[in-house]
C-alpha cells in the first residue's frame, strides 16, 4: 500500500515537470512548423497544461500532508556512471519545493489566463505563450531539481526566456538592449552556479540534494564540504542568486526589464523569476549553516540592496520603475532573513511578496484611474509623502542624497568605468595596435604581405 502511494507521488511529481514541458514542446512544434496558430488553440493548450499542473501540485501537496510523507525522490536516470561515480538526475518533492511548485504554476496559469485578453491580436502572441510556457517549465525544474546540475540547466532556461521577453518588442532598439543587459548579467552570475556545482562535485563528490533536514534547515539540502570549502560554495551560490534577484551591485537591469508586455513583467519581476535567487539559497540552507562567512555575506548583500533600493525607489517617477525598486527592496530583505536563518519566515515573505507585487504590476496601467478614485475617496489631495525624509535628513545633505538616489547610487557609472571600462579600453588599444600593424604590413610591400600570408597559413594549419 505504502509502495503504491509512493508510486502515485512519484508520478505526480514527474507530472509537475511533464505538463509544462509538454505545453512548451507542443508550442515549439507549432511555431517551428508554422502550423495553424489561432489564439484559441494556443490558449486552450496553455490553460489545459497549467490547470493540470496546478491540480497535480495540489494533489501532491494534499497527499504528502495526509500521508505524512516528508520527501519524494524521483530518479530520472543517470547521465554518467563510471565505476562508483554516479552523475544522476533526480527530482525532489518536499515541503520546500512542493508549495513553491504549486504557487508558481498557479501564477503562470493565472497570468496565462490574463494574457489571453491582454495580448489579443498581438503579433507575437504565440511567441509570448511559448516563452512563458518554457519559463514555467524552467521554474518547475529549478524548484524540483534534485541536484545543482539540474538547477543549472533550468536556471538557463529561465534566464533565456526572461531576456527574450524583455526584448519582446524587438522592433524597437531599447527593449533589445535591455534584454541583452539582463542576459549578460545572468550569464555573468551563472559562473557562480556552475562553479558551485563543480566545486561540490570536486569536494563532496555530488551536487545532489542528499543532506538530511536539520533544525536550522528544515528540508533536504546539499551535502556540505568541510571548512573553507563550504564558504567558497556558499559565496558562489550567493553570486548566482545575486544576478537573478537583482541584488546590489548587479541590479541595474531590473528597472530596465520593464520593457515587455505588462503581464510578463508581473510574473518575472514581481513574482517568480526575481525570487529564484532566494529559493536557491533556501535549498542550499545546509551550506549556509556551515559557512557563517557566506551567511554573513548573504545578509550583507541583502541589507545593502534593501537600503539602496528603498532610497532609489523613492525618487522613481514612473510606476514600473517604482515597483521594480520596491521588489528589489523586499528581495533584499528576504536575503537578510535567509542569511540570519529565518528560513520559514523567508518562505512566507517570498509568497506574500510575489502575490502582492504581481497584482500591483498588473494594475499599474490603471494608475490614473486609481489615483483619481483614491483622491475622491479620501476627499483630499493625497497626503504628501517623503516628509520624514525631509525631517530626518539635514537640509544640506538632502540634495546630495536625492542625487545619489536619482543616479541609482552611481553604481552603473562605477561599473561601467572601473569594472568594464578597463576591459573596453584595453580592447580598444589592442584594436588600434592591430590596425596599425595591418596597415604597416600592407604598406611594406609584397615581402611583408608574403610574411603575413605565411603567418595566416601557419595559423590555419595549426
Amino acid at each position: 500500500m505504502i509502495q503504491d502511494i509512493h508510486d502515485v507521488l512519484k508520478v505526480l511529481t514527474l507530472s509537475l515537470l511533464i505538463f509544462p514541458a509538454g505545453v512548451a514542446a507542443v508550442l515549439i512544434f507549432v511555431a517551428w512548423f508554422d502550423r495553424a496558430r489561432s489564439e484559441a488553440t494556443v490558449n486552450a493548450l496553455v490553460a489545459t497544461g497549467y490547470t493540470a499542473t496546478v491540480a497535480a501540485a495540489t494533489a501532491l501537496l494534499a497527499l504528502m500532508a495526509s500521508q505524512g510523507v516528508e520527501r519524494v525522490v524521483v530518479p530520472l536516470g543517470a547521465w554518467v556512471a563510471v565505476g562508483h561515480y554516479h552523475f544522476d538526475w533526480t527530482l525532489i518533492a518536499d515541503h520546500l519545493s512542493v508549495p513553491f511548485a504549486l504557487f508558481s504554476s498557479m501564477l503562470v496559469a493565472l497570468i496565462g489566463a490574463f494574457s489571453r485578453r491582454y495580448l489579443h491580436l498581438e503579433r507575437g502572441y504565440l511567441r509570448f505563450y511559448l516563452l512563458m510556457a518554457l519559463f514555467g517549465a524552467g521554474v518547475e525544474l529549478v524548484v524540483l531539481a534534485g541536484s545543482l546540475d539540474l538547477v543549472f540547466f533550468a536556471w538557463e532556461i529561465v534566464g533565456l526566456t526572461s531576456a527574450l521577453l524583455i526584448a519582446f518588442f524587438n522592433e524597437r532598439r531599447r527593449p533589445v538592449e535591455h534584454g541583452f543587459l539582463a542576459f549578460v548579467t545572468y550569464r555573468l552570475c551563472d559562473i557562480g552556479l556552475l562553479g558551485a556545482a563543480v566545486w561540490l562535485h570536486h569536494t563532496v563528490g555530488t551536487s545532489a540534494v542528499t543532506a538530511a533536514p536539520t533544525a536550522t534547515t528544515p528540508w533536504a539540502s546539499f551535502a556540505v564540504p568541510a571548512g573553507a570549502a563550504a564558504t567558497a560554495a556558499g559565496l558562489m551560490l550567493l553570486w548566482a542568486a545575486m544576478g537573478k534577484s537583482a541584488q546590489v551591485p548587479l541590479g541595474g537591469w531590473l528597472p530596465r526589464a520593464m520593457e515587455g508586455p505588462t503581464p510578463s513583467s508581473a510574473i518575472f519581476y514581481g513574482a517568480i523569476s526575481i525570487h529564484l535567487g532566494p529559493y536557491l539559497l533556501l535549498r542550499a540552507g545546509s551550506i549556509l549553516d556551515h559557512a557563517p562567512m557566506a551567511a554573513a555575506a548573504v545578509t550583507m548583500v541583502g541589507a545593502v540592496t534593501a537600503l539602496h533600493a528603498t532610497f532609489v525607489g523613492r525618487v522613481q517617477s514612473d510606476i514600473k520603475s517604482a515597483l521594480a525598486y520596491a521588489s528589489m527592496t523586499q528581495v533584499g530583505l528576504i536575503f537578510v532573513e535567509i542569511g540570519l536563518g529565518c528560513r520559514y519566515f523567508a518562505l512566507a515573505h517570498i509568497v506574500g511578496h510575489a502575490a502582492i507585487r504581481s497584482l500591483q504590476i498588473l494594475r499599474s496601467p490603471s494608475l490614473l484611474h486609481d489615483h483619481h478614485h483614491l483622491e475622491q475617496a479620501m476627499g483630499a489631495q493625497l497626503p504628501k509623502t517623503g516628509g520624514h525624509l525631509e525631517r530626518l535628513v539635514p537640509d544640506r545633505l538632502q540634495p546630495w542624497l536625492y542625487r545619489h538616489a536619482l543616479e541609482r547610487g552611481y553604481l552603473e557609472g562605477i561599473i561601467k568605468d572601473y569594472a568594464l571600462g578597463g576591459f573596453l579600453r584595453l580592447f580598444r588599444r589592442l584594436d588600434a595596435l592591430d590596425r596599425a600593424w595591418s596597415r604597416a604590413v600592407a604598406q611594406s610591400g609584397p615581402q611583408a604581405a608574403r610574411w603575413s600570408r605565411a603567418g595566416r597559413d601557419a595559423r590555419e594549419a595549426s
Partner: protein, 985 residues
C-alpha cells in the same frame, strides 16, 4: 511640393544672424512639438496643427520629411484595398482625372501620362530594400522573368514587342532576353544612390564621424530629470528645489561636488556652479552651449529645432506645463521650455566633448559603402522599380532599351515616387468612401416616411458613438425624436462634484469657463457618516499602496498579509466582472451616496470669487436654454418629456481613459452638464424669461438630465425625485425603452470586438461590454471614435432610419429657422475644428502608429501621472495607442451640411479659421441643399462647390439594424431601416 519644403527650410534660417533671441526662436519652433495635455485632460487635436496653413496633402508630406513619419497609408495597405474592392479602378481613374494635369502628354515608352498614372496605381508591387534587393537580383530569377503581376494579355503584348525586335525565337528565351536587356539598359542609365547628409545637430555630425551617439548618453539622464521635475505624485520623494524652475533645480543638484559621476559628465558640477555664480538665465546658457558646440549663428534655429525634436514628447510636455499650468493633474510647476532646452544643450556639450575625447583614443570608424566602392553605388531600388513598372504599365519596352529611352523612363518612374502614388491612392480611397456615403444619404432620403408624434424627445451629444444609440432608440420606439448638440449643452462651467477634490472645466477647450457649479448634499448631516467611512477606507488603501513599496512597512505588510492578494489576483485574472463588483463594494460600502443637487443659481449682483462666478443668473440660464432649443429646432415643439444625455467613459487598464470621454466637455464627462441644463430648463423663472423671448415651454414639459457611459452602456438619471407626478409614468416608460436601446447598442459594439462571438445573444451583450470596462487585462475597453468619418449637420428627419455604422457625428440644425445662417456659422465654428481634431488625430495615429500614435499599449508605463513611456525611460509617447485605432479607416472628415452652397461660402468668407480648414482640405465640406429643385449634394473642391454625381441609387433595406450588421466585423455601408418609421416586423 519639393519647392515648398525648400522654401520652408530657407525661411527658417533667414532670421537676424547676429542677435540671439531665444524667445523668438522658441516661438517659431515650439508649435512643432506635440500639443498633448497631461493624460487626465486628454483632448483630441490635429497632430499637424502647426501645418494647417498648408494644404492637407502638402502638409502631411512636409511633416513626414521633417519628423520622419508616414503621410498616408502604406502601398501595401492600398494594394489590399484594391484586392478586396474597397478601392476600385474607377476611383483611380476619376482621381487621376480630377487631381492631375497634362494627362494627354506622352511619356517615355510611348504611354500617355493618364495611362501611366492609372496603370502604375493599379499595379502596386513591393520594392525590396538594400540587402533583400541584392539577394533577389543575385539569387532569384526576378530580373530574367516578367514580373508576377504581369497579366496574360500584357505578357503576349511584351512578347510581341520582343518578337519585332529579335525576330522569331522561343517565348522563354525571348522573355529572358527582353528582361535582361531591359534590366541592363536601366541599370546602365541609372543615377547614383542619393546619400542622406548627416543632420545639422553637432550630435549628428559626431555620430557620423565617430559612431558615438551623444543622445544615448544625454537622453536617459534628461528623461529622468524631466520626469522627476514634472512628477505629480508617483515618486515618494520629490525633486528638491523644483519650485525654482527646471534649470535652477538642475544646476543646484548637479552643481554639488563630490560624486563619482559617469565619465562623460566629468566637470559638469564645476560648470553648473560657474553658471550659477554668473546667474545665467536660459538664454545665456543656450547661447553659451551653442557656441561651445560650434554651431554657426545661421544654423542656430535649425539646431534648436532638431534638438527639441530629438525628444519631442518631453519637450512638448514641458511646454504644456508652461502654457497651461492649470492643467497640471495635481501641482502646477514653473516649467519652461527654454529651461529644458538649456539643460539639454548643456548636457549635449559634455556628451560632445566626451565623444571627441573617446574618438581621439581610437581610430575613426570608416564609412562602409563609399569606402568599399570608392563612389556611391547605383540606385538599384529605382532600377528595379522602373524595370517592373515598364512591364506593368502599357509601354513599348523596346523603346526603353537604349540609354536615352532608359534614362527618360527612369526619370518618369522616379518623378512618380511612393509619396506621390500614396497621395493619389489616398484621394481615391477617400473618394470611394465619400461617394458611398453621399449616395447612401440620397437613397435613404427617398425612402423616408412619416413618423408618429413623439411621446418624448432625447438630446444627445453629437458624438459618433451616440449615433447607434439614437438609431436603436428610434427603431424600438418610433414615437420618439432625437437631437444632437455639443455635449456640454451650452453650459460652459467649472464643475466640482461632491466627490471631487478640485473643480475641473467641463466645456470645449476653446471656451474659457467663467462659472463654477458645485454639487451639494441635500442633507449634509446624513452625508457625513457616509463620507467618513469612505475616507477611512481610502486612507487604508493609500497606506497599503505607499507602505508596500517601502522598506520596513513593506516587509511587514508583504510577509504578513501579502498572501491575501491571491484572492484579488485570482479574481482579476479569471472573473473580472465579479472581482470589480466585489472591489467596488469594498471601496464604497453597502450604501449609495447621499442625495445631492447642483448649486446652480446666483443672484445677479454676486460678483466672481477667484475669477469664477458661483452659479448662473436667471438671464444667463435663459440664454443657454434658448441657444439649444433654437439650434436644434426643439423650441417649436417640446414633448412632455425631454431627456438630455451627457456622456463619458470609465475603464480600467487604460491610461488614455480621458480620450474616451466627451470632447465637447474638454475630455471630461458630460453628465453634470446635462444635469445642469435640465435644471435650468425646468427653472420657473427661466421659463418665464424664455416666454418673454418667444420660446414658450408648456408647463407640462419636464427636462431630465442623464449620463451615458459609452464603455459599459449604462445610463444614470439625475434628480429623478424632482420629476412631477404627471411625467413620472412617461419617464418610467422612456427609461425602459432606453435600457433596451442600450442593450442593442452594446450588441452592435460587440461585433467589433474579436473576443466576442459574432453570433452573440442580445442578452449577453451588456455583460460583454461591462467586462471590457472593468477588466485589468483588457487593452480595448471600447473603440472610442475609431472609424469616425462623417459629420452631418442638419435635420434628423433627413437621416432617420439610416444605418451609419457609428461613424457619423450627428449635429441637429434646422435651416428653415436660420435664414441668415448665423446659427449655422456658430455651429460650424464649434463642430469643424473639434470634428477635424478628433478625425485627424485618428487619421495620423492610424497611418503612423509609432510616429504620430503612441504605439502598442502593452508595454506602456505611466510616468508622473501625466503621460506614458514605452517601457523604461523612453520619450513621452503622445497620440493614440494602436489598440484604440486599429479598426479605423483613415479618411478626412466628410462634413455634410444641410445648407445651400451660397450660405456656406458666405460663412467661409466671414471666418478665416474655418475657411483655412476647409480650403486647405483638412475637412471635406459638402453642401446638402434641399431647394425646390430637389435634394442635391455638392462637394467643395478647389474654391467652389462641384456637383456630386451619384453612382448607385439603391440602398439595402432592412427592418432593424441588427439584421444588417449580423455576422459582420468589418465596416458596413449605408442601409435603410424601416423600423425607425414604425414598420412592424
Amino acid at each position: 511640393m519639393e519647392a515648398a519644403i525648400r522654401l520652408d527650410e530657407a525661411s527658417f534660417d533667414d532670421g537676424d544672424r547676429d542677435a540671439f533671441r531665444l524667445e523668438e526662436i522658441l516661438a517659431e519652433v515650439a508649435p512643432l512639438l506635440p500639443e498633448q495635455a497631461p493624460l487626465h485632460a486628454f483632448v483630441h487635436h490635429n497632430p499637424l496643427h502647426a501645418f494647417e496653413h498648408l494644404p492637407f496633402e502638402e502638409a502631411t508630406v512636409t511633416a513626414a520629411r521633417l519628423f520622419g513619419t508616414e503621410p498616408f497609408q502604406t502601398e501595401e495597405a492600398f494594394a489590399r484595398c484594391l484586392e478586396n474592392g474597397r478601392l476600385r479602378i474607377r476611383d483611380l481613374e476619376t482621381t487621376v482625372e480630377d487631381c492631375e494635369t497634362d494627362l494627354d502628354s506622352t511619356l517615355a515608352g510611348g504611354v500617355s501620362r493618364r495611362d501611366f498614372l492609372v496603370a502604375r496605381l493599379r499595379h502596386l508591387f513591393p520594392v525590396p530594400s538594400d540587402a533583400a534587393l541584392a539577394w533577389m537580383i543575385e539569387e532569384t530569377d526576378a530580373v530574367n522573368r516578367f514580373h508576377p503581376l504581369v497579366s496574360q494579355r500584357r505578357r503576349e503584348d511584351l512578347l510581341d514587342q520582343a518578337r519585332r525586335r529579335f525576330g522569331q525565337i522561343p517565348a522563354d528565351a525571348m522573355e529572358r532576353r527582353l528582361c535582361r536587356l531591359l534590366w541592363d539598359a536601366l541599370r546602365d542609365a541609372a543615377p547614383r544612390k542619393q546619400t542622406h547628409p548627416a543632420g545639422i545637430r553637432p550630435r549628428d555630425q559626431i555620430h557620423e564621424a565617430t559612431g558615438i551617439d551623444c543622445d544615448e548618453l544625454v537622453h536617459p539622464l534628461l528623461i529622468r530629470l524631466c520626469a522627476s521635475f514634472l512628477d505629480q505624485g508617483i515618486a515618494y520623494w520629490q525633486l528638491p528645489g523644483r519650485e525654482a524652475g527646471f534649470l535652477a533645480a538642475f544646476r543646484s543638484l548637479y552643481g554639488l561636488p563630490g560624486a563619482p559621476l559617469d565619465r562623460w559628465r566629468r566637470g559638469l558640477d564645476a560648470e553648473c556652479r560657474r553658471q550659477q555664480a554668473l546667474a545665467w538665465d536660459a538664454e545665456q546658457t543656450v547661447q553659451w552651449a551653442l557656441e561651445s558646440l560650434g554651431v554657426a549663428p545661421a544654423e542656430r534655429r535649425r539646431v534648436v529645432r532638431e534638438t527639441l525634436l530629438s525628444l519631442p514628447g518631453w519637450a512638448g510636455m514641458m511646454r504644456q506645463f508652461e502654457l497651461h499650468p492649470e492643467q497640471a493633474p495635481v501641482v502646477a510647476l514653473p516649467a519652461r521650455l527654454a529651461d529644458y532646452l538649456a539643460v539639454q544643450l548643456v548636457l549635449d556639450v559634455f556628451a560632445a566633448r566626451h565623444a571627441r575625447r573617446t574618438a581621439a583614443e581610437s581610430p575613426r570608424r570608416e564609412s562602409t559603402e563609399t569606402a568599399v566602392h570608392g563612389r556611391t553605388p547605383v540606385d538599384l531600388a529605382l532600377v528595379y522599380e522602373a524595370f517592373a513598372a515598364a512591364q506593368l504599365v502599357p509601354t513599348d519596352t523596346t523603346t526603353l532599351l537604349d540609354a536615352e529611352g532608359a534614362g527618360a523612363w527612369l526619370a518618369t518612374v522616379h518623378a512618380f515616387d511612393a509619396f506621390e502614388r500614396r497621395r493619389l491612392l489616398h484621394l481615391a480611397y477617400e473618394r470611394r468612401h465619400r461617394v458611398d456615403v453621399l449616395d447612401g444619404l440620397l437613397a435613404n432620403e427617398k425612402l423616408l416616411s412619416r413618423c408618429p408624434t413623439p411621446e418624448f424627445q432625447a438630446v444627445f451629444c453629437i458624438d459618433d458613438r451616440e449615433e447607434s444609440l439614437r438609431r436603436h432608440l428610434e427603431e424600438i420606439h418610433p414615437a420618439c425624436e432625437t437631437f444632437g448638440f455639443a455635449g456640454f449643452f451650452g453650459v460652459a462651467m467649472v464643475y466640482q462634484g461632491i466627490d471631487d477634490v478640485r473643480g475641473r472645466p467641463l466645456c470645449p477647450v476653446a471656451v474659457k469657463a467663467r462659472h463654477l457649479i458645485v454639487e451639494r448634499p441635500v442633507e449634509p448631516h446624513l452625508a457625513t457618516s457616509y463620507y467618513s467611512a469612505r475616507r477611512w477606507r481610502g486612507r487604508l488603501r493609500n497606506a497599503v499602496a505607499v507602505g508596500s513599496k517601502s522598506l520596513v512597512r513593506g516587509g511587514l505588510l508583504t510577509a504578513a498579509a501579502g498572501l491575501a492578494s491571491v484572492v484579488p489576483l485570482i479574481g482579476r485574472c479569471l472573473f473580472p466582472r465579479s472581482a470589480e463588483r466585489l472591489s467596488h463594494r469594498m471601496r464604497h460600502g453597502r450604501h449609495h451616496g447621499p442625495t445631492t443637487r447642483l448649486a446652480i443659481e446666483r443672484a445677479a449682483a454676486d460678483g466672481p470669487i477667484d475669477g469664477l462666478y458661483h452659479g448662473y443668473t436667471t438671464a444667463e440660464m435663459a440664454d443657454i436654454v434658448a441657444a439649444l432649443l433654437r439650434t436644434t429646432g426643439l423650441a417649436e415643439h417640446c414633448s412632455p418629456l425631454v431627456l438630455v444625455f451627457g456622456h463619458g467613459s470609465s475603464s480600467l487598464n487604460n491610461p488614455h481613459e480621458a480620450a474616451h470621454d466627451c470632447g465637447a466637455t474638454g475630455g471630461g464627462r458630460g453628465g453634470p452638464n446635462a444635469r445642469a441644463f435640465a435644471a435650468m430648463a425646468n427653472h420657473a423663472a427661466v421659463r418665464k424669461l424664455l416666454g418673454e423671448r418667444g420660446i414658450a415651454i408648456p408647463d407640462r414639459v419636464w427636462f431630465v438630465g442623464a449620463y451615458h457611459n459609452t464603455c459599459d452602456d449604462a445610463l444614470t438619471y439625475y434628480d429623478e425625485d424632482l420629476v412631477p407626478a404627471a411625467a413620472r409614468t412617461l419617464l418610467g416608460d422612456a427609461q425602459r425603452v432606453l435600457a433596451a436601446a442600450c442593450l442593442r447598442d452594446a450588441h452592435e459594439r460587440c461585433r467589433r470586438f474579436g473576443t466576442s462571438p459574432l453570433q452573440l445573444d442580445l442578452d449577453e451583450a451588456l455583460a460583454h461590454a461591462e467586462a471590457h470596462a472593468v477588466d485589468l487585462a483588457q487593452p480595448r475597453p471600447e473603440y472610442g471614435h475609431a472609424t469616425n468619418a462623417v459629420c452631418i449637420v442638419g435635420r434628423r428627419e433627413r437621416t432617420r432610419g439610416l444605418f451609419l455604422d457609428r461613424r457619423a457625428f450627428l449635429v441637429s440644425y434646422d435651416p428653415t429657422t436660420d435664414a441668415d445662417g448665423s446659427t449655422l456659422a456658430n455651429l460650424l465654428l464649434a463642430v469643424g475644428p473639434v470634428g477635424a481634431g478628433i478625425n485627424l488625430e485618428y487619421y495620423f495615429s492610424f497611418v503612423d502608429p509609432t510616429g504620430y500614435g503612441c504605439g502598442t499599449k502593452l508595454p506602456h508605463n505611466i510616468v508622473g501621472l501625466f503621460g506614458v513611456m514605452d517601457g523604461h525611460a523612453s520619450d513621452l509617447r503622445t497620440g493614440l495607442p494602436w489598440q484604440m485605432v486599429e479598426i479605423h479607416e483613415p479618411v478626412r472628415l466628410l462634413l455634410i451640411v444641410d445648407a445651400e452652397p451660397a450660405v456656406l461660402l458666405r460663412i467661409l468668407d466671414a471666418h478665416p479659421g474655418l475657411d483655412r480648414l476647409v480650403r486647405n482640405g483638412w475637412i471635406q465640406l459638402v453642401s446638402w441643399g434641399s431647394a425646390a429643385s430637389g435634394s442635391a449634394m455638392r462637394v467643395f473642391a478647389g474654391g467652389g462647390f462641384r456637383d456630386h454625381r451619384p453612382e448607385c441609387t439603391d440602398i439595402p433595406v432592412f427592418q432593424q439594424s441588427r439584421e444588417f450588421y449580423a455576422g459582420h466585423r468589418e465596416h458596413l455601408g449605408c442601409a435603410h431601416l424601416t423600423a425607425a418609421f414604425g414598420a412592424a416586423a
